[in-house]
Amino acid sequence: MHHSIDVRHLFFSYPDGHPALEDVTFRVAPGEKVALVGPNGAGKSTLLLHLNGILTGPGELIICGHTLSPATLGPIRAAVGMVFQDPDDQLFSPTVLEDVAFGPIYMGLSESQVRERVRTALASVGMSGQESRVSHHLSNGEKKRVAIASVLAMEPEVLVLDEPTAGLDPRGRRNLINLLRALPQTMLVSSHDLQMVAELLPRTILLDRGRVISDGSTAALLADPHLLEAHGLEAL
């Protein structure tokens, strides 16, 4: 059996020469729920963007059994559902229907399959019947939900979320946590929200200055205030 995510010795520098990832190695088993924490600028978003080949650096990535290369981008992108931090980046279509249908259409599904996928994806985020709404007029929490629906519609094996609770009010945040808890997919979630991490994700990878500092159970990390403080995090 293969790992869902298998990253080996990954390096990456932005074009301005700034090293963002240095020798990152970790594995995520199918069904595992993993948090990615670290201070601002640690490289979390940069790492996530590697998981479906939006960014590529030296190193080896094996996603759901496919070694990342130009030839495997198609199946890898279909297997990894990427939810971006700012839903305005993710919802680029005029209406909710077109946004949620985008992935399935490009996966080459038939019209009836696409419509079925849209229906189930919207239902699973509690946005049934909102197909014709205009993305701009949605609230922040609704935008997040639709953004998640837009990747769920692709029925991915792995869900990758970048700061899903950022910018949500307490109720929106609570709804989102409940929604994520109900999803069966393998998850890698970058977040500054340690409370959500504690509630939802049993394993945590701590990243700082592009390096993996620690990788283990969330409870153990949260019980180590010195480690947390040394990397710009606050104990609960």
């Binding site: 939006i54 990427m82 980046d89 077109e98 249908a101 985008f102 259409i105 490009y106």
Partner: protein
């Protein structure tokens, strides 16, 4: 996050009227046909112009938008009509009056004046039709209508993205402006203080804002492209097929076309 949005950019007024309920494709095609008819109708075919005006006014009334609303919006186009004013003086014909502007003498002719008034009237008619279309049709429906008439897909996709992110960008500009206002408290009442920040200062700030908006838009386009790639985008624009037009839609389309062709032939026969 700031939740004050810019809504006034969207001309769409969602109301319950037969015009709003009409298929966007029918509305789009008939509006284009109407504007084409208006521009092909010969100059000074006043009876035809009046009939065309009656047609567009009845649609306005049917749409429940209110004549006042449409006319207020239409008046925005008025200054552009003045661009046609030189026509009144440049067309040869029966002399009306002569104007002296310093060393210049300009003679207005009856034909020229008629031509100018026709152009003005035509613009007024066309703009009203466009206002009714955009106010009674949501933009996503308009985009679908453009797709239905086989406008290039890439172009329609670009319109869609522009419309989607116009609001986001406007919100960003609003935030920047608020931040600027918060930092530009007026100086105290000193002897040498000016009542307003200097023009150069404001120009510098506006320039900085434009630059920062450009950078933000540029970065955002990068992220949007990443989001599209993540969902298997391959560079070709594809979308769900459109539903077929209902019989009543076809009927309206045929009716509208017959009327417009009738009016146009009238104009061409008697004034062409």
């Amino acid at each position: 996050m700031i939740s004050v949005h810019v809504h006034y950019l969207d001309p769409h007024r969602s109301l319950d009227s037969p015009v709003h309920a009409l298929d966007a494709r029918v509305k789009f095609i008939l509006t284009v046909a109407f504007i084409l008819t208006v521009s092909l109708t010969p100059y000074a075919a006043w009876p035809v112009f009046i009939l065309l005006l009656a047609a567009v006014l009845s649609v306005e009334i049917l749409s429940r938008l209110g004549l006042g609303y449409v006319q207020r919006r239409a008046s925005l186009a008025l200054p552009f009509v003045l661009a046609a004013l030189p026509l009144a003086f440049s067309v040869e014909g029966t002399n009306l009056f002569t104007m002296r502007l310093g060393a210049w003498t300009q003679t207005a002719s009856l034909e020229g004046l008629e031509r100018f008034l026709s152009v003005g009237f035509k613009s007024w008619l066309s703009i009203q039709a466009a206002i009714v279309l955009t106010s009674s049709t949501s933009f996503p429906d308009l985009l679908r209508a453009m797709r239905a008439v086989r406008l290039p897909r890439l172009l329609v996709a670009m319109f869609g993205l522009m419309w989607r992110y116009l609001f986001v960008l406007a919100d960003e500009a609003l935030r920047l402006m608020r931040a600027r206002a918060a930092r530009s408290g007026r100086p105290g009442p000193r002897a040498d203080s000016r009542p307003m920040p200097s023009f150069a200062w404001r120009a510098r700030v506006a320039g900085g804002m434009a630059g920062s908006l450009f950078l933000r838009a540029f970065n955002r386009s990068d992220r949007i492209y990443g989001a599209m790639l993540s969902r298997c985008y391959d560079g070709e624009v594809r979308s769900l097929p459109l539903s077929s037009l209902s019989p009543s839609g076809w009927l309206t389309l045929a009716g509208g076309f017959s009327l417009l062709i009738l009016l146009l032939s009238l104009g061409v026969l008697f004034w062409g």
